[in-house]
């Protein structure tokens, strides 16, 4: 902490310019605003590039279309993973960190010059890795499992990117310290900032694991190290790869709370419960890399069971708690706003035409039902045998990281553009349908890839017909059908993605300046509606029948799906 504090103090002398947000009354440091802007714009550019690659991949895996030749398919798939999973998500997360610290705490941002340095490192790293991929000798997938070797600048780009992201985390921590020191807020940090803090703490662990594995791999690629053990690589690589997914979860859950607060004035049911749930993420995820190693040789069952469950189920517990408290907070707010009829009037009369809300709610539901349930099932020691490396795996994580994280990030953009960039959303009609298009598309690709996976379709595979294999195998007609449906829904998702990019870019560059009296969508942040919502603490909360029904449905679906998969497992060849 001391070096961070010193860095913070060193620039205390800079001239800080603030503006006051007309909607929220928050003081916004213009330096922070510019950095949020730069990181968010970079994020959207990488999403546009990476999303296009995803679409090309899906079209190639659509048997009737089979678009790209094999070399291009594998190259573009490598580019897809890196650009969306790493670059889009992490640039956006850095923007979220700056927002949750400087803006929400009314504070100046620590050391903006360093923050720019971090940004530049990230851009250089991301571009370098992309160049390596497009030169064609780094088609190794973003996981780059040895002994398969990429060009040296593939790894170096990733390392630079990670260092830049680490700088972003340091700026975030330093800003928290400054805000505390300078007393820019009273009491504890807001829940959203707490969620962001969770994300940042996990990010530090993650990046440390990344350094431990990527630096030797880089040295190996330039010939300074002779051998990287492939199993050891995976253990450490996934300590980064899995933990970083928990960064995404923390960040998008924080965004769920933020959108619910800003759009409907929802208050956390209980600060204690929600914060504890975030804290579980920090405590119990370090070992979760285990669930990527369930069918590897030479790892004991005890280790696998202990690690996947100890780490996973208590982190899962955190998510299940948020799964109650987020819709619960929304229901409570809506009921106090007068939507009290039946179990679900609060939900029917929610602002479904506001893309920030619709995107957030779809993200919440799909992350839980699709990504969450499938993730736990996939991460069960024995069931993993049925699914490992089939296309079920990308099916699962398009449920978490696309339908969940990406959709939540898209949703919050509809608030960031007017509130931070101070631009009206152009094409509000398109913006309104965007979350639905993208959400349904993402749900479709997740479910159909999962379906295809249960029929054995391999992931990262150019030719389902195996036409060029000397000893061919014929997949079932159902498998081909699933991959075709996947292509159809990929088209929807791509359409939703394009609309998002177009609306955001057009709004940022050509949108009218926001006029505080007439925003496109209402933000009851400061309105009396919010004040009506009542006190903190769930003991003072109205009853929540709708939320209870929702979580009960979820719970039953979860149990059924879990045990159905054990049933499937019991039908395969005995194995010991």
């Amino acid at each position: 902490m001391t070096t961070i504090e010193a860095a913070g103090r060193a620039v205390a002398a800079r001239n800080v310019e603030f503006r006051t947000c007309p909607f929220t009354g928050l003081k916004v440091d213009l330096a922070a605003q510019r950095l949020i802007y730069a990181n968010a714009v970079a994020a959207v550019i990488f999403l546009a590039v990476g999303g296009l690659f995803g679409f090309l991949v899906a079209l190639t895996r659509w048997p009737a279309v089979h678009l790209l030749p094999a070399e291009w398919f594998y190259l573009v798939l490598t580019g897809h993973g890196a650009n969306v999973l790493l670059f889009w998500i992490i640039f956006f997360e850095i923007a979220v960190l700056y927002f949750a610290s400087a803006v929400l705490l009314n504070s100046r941002l620590a050391a903006p010059k360093f923050a720019w340095l971090g940004f530049i490192l990230m851009v250089v790293g991301a571009v370098m890795t992309n160049v390596a991929v497009f030169q064609g000798d780094s088609t190794v997938m973003f996981t780059s499992y040895p002994p398969m070797k990429a060009a040296w600048h593939f790894y170096l780009g990733l390392i630079l990117f990670a260092v830049g992201a680490l700088v972003g985390c340091a700026i975030f921590f330093a800003t928290l310290v400054i805000a505390k020191d300078e007393g820019t807020y009273q009491g504890s940090i807001p829940l959203v900032t707490f969620g962001a803090l969770t994300a940042a703490i996990i990010a530090v662990f993650t990046i440390a694991a990344g350094a431990i594995i990527l630096v030797p791999t880089f040295l190996w690629s330039v010939g300074l190290i002779s051998h990287i053990d492939p199993l050891m690589y995976k253990v450490v690589w996934w300590a980064m790869g899995h933990s970083s997914q928990q960064i995404n979860v923390s960040a998008h859950v924080a965004i769920w709370y933020a959108i619910a607060a800003i759009v409907i004035g929802a208050q956390p049911l209980s600060e204690k419960v929600s914060r504890t749930a975030f804290f579980l993420y920090i405590l119990f995820l370090q070992l979760a890399s285990a669930h990527h190693l369930l069918v590897e040789p030479g790892i004991s069952s005890e280790w696998k069971i202990f690690n996947t469950s100890y780490a996973m189920y208590l982190a899962v517990l955190g998510s299940m708690i948020h799964g109650l408290t987020v819709p619960g907070a929304i229901e409570a707010a809506q009921r106090r706003n007068g939507f009290t009829k039946g179990a679900f009037e609060w939900l029917r009369k929610a602002p479904w035409g506001n893309p920030a809300f619709s995107g957030m709610f779809l993200s919440l539901v799909m992350f839980g039902f699709i990504g969450g349930i499938s993730g736990v099932v996939l991460g069960t020691e024995q069931i993993n045998i049925l699914m490992h490396n089939t296309i079920y795996v990308p099916g699962h994580f398009h449920g978490t990281v696309v339908a969940g994280t990406t959709l939540a990030f898209m949703a919050v953009t509809y608030l960031v553009v007017p509130l931070i960039f101070q631009r009206q959303i152009v094409f509000p009609g398109l913006a309104k349908i965007q979350p639905y298009l993208f959400g349904i598309g993402a749900a479709g690709i997740s479910l159909f890839m999962m379906g295809a996976g249960t029929l054995g379709v391999p992931r990262r595979h150019w030719d389902l017909t195996l036409a060029e294999a000397p000893i061919p195998y014929e997949f079932s007609a159902g498998a081909f059908l699933m991959m075709g449906l996947n292509g159809l829904f990929a088209t929807l998702a791509a359409l939703g993605g394009i609309i998002y990019v177009v609306v955001v870019v057009a709004s940022v560059f050509f949108g009218k300046k926001v006029d505080s009296t007439k925003p496109v969508w209402q933000f009851p942040v400061t309105s009396t509606a919010a004040a009506n919502v009542g006190k903190y603490g769930s003991h003072g909360t109205v009853k929540l029948p709708g939320t209870i029904i929702l979580v009960a449905v979820f719970f039953v679906a979860f149990m059924l799906y879990y045990y159905v998969n054990w049933k499937y497992l019991s039908a395969v060849w005995p194995l010991r």
Binding site: M141, Y313, Q382, I385, W573
Partner: protein, 187 residues
């Protein structure tokens, strides 16, 4: 609100509503149940992946597999030149993954158990037995030994589901499961 500091400074002392406590307890118990299910399956379940594995030089594994093929070869798969091997029931059998084939083709008897030795001699590969859908990661330098008991006769494909370079989608192999007293080929 979630974007502002908690209204009550001492937020960690608030009482918590029943519904949250009940849900948290349920979710926790569910976690315990899932944890227990994995352990119970090790005791009563028929499908558990073996933990037996050895470090091995890829060349050594290749030699052993070749010796195995030499000993029990009964024919070739079509005109591919890939040997078909019919080992005695209950014996140790070998299969290696390499760019880009699963080698050799195995002919096994239904209902018999075999100790299958799996490894790679170059990159990582994904052993994916279809349509049974048993999927196992195969590493160079590690020999994984598992006991399989094919319980239905038929021809099974093995595709590769770990990306292993440009020929990945051409990498496939076969296990043929025959009824107990089917005679060996050529006899």
């Amino acid at each position: 609100m979630a974007v502002t500091p908690p209204a009550q400074r001492i937020w960690w002392k608030e009482p918590v509503e029943r519904v949250e406590l009940v849900w948290t307890a349920l979710a926790f118990l569910w976690g315990v149940a899932m944890f227990a299910t994995m352990i119970i399956w090790h005791i009563v379940g028929q499908q558990n992946l073996a933990n037996e594995a050895y470090r091995i030089q890829p060349e050594r594994f290749m030699e052993r597999t070749e010796a195995f093929v030499e000993k029990y070869k009964v024919g070739e798969q079509g005109d591919t030149g890939v040997p078909v091997v019919r080992p005695p029931a209950g014996s140790d059998v070998y299969m290696l993954g390499r760019l880009w084939e699963w080698w050799p083709v195995l002919e096994l008897e239904k209902g018999q158990s075999y100790r299958l030795h799996l490894s790679s001699v170059d990159w990582q590969h994904g052993f994916s037995l279809q349509p049974v859908n048993i999927n196992i990661q195969v590493h160079p330098g590690y020999e994984h030994v598992l006991t399989i008991t094919p319980d239905q006769a038929g021809e099974y494909g093995i595709v590769c589901n770990e990306f292993c370079g440009i020929g990945h989608h051409t990498m496939a192999g076969k296990i043929i499961v025959v009824d107990r007293n089917t005679p060996k080929r050529g006899q």
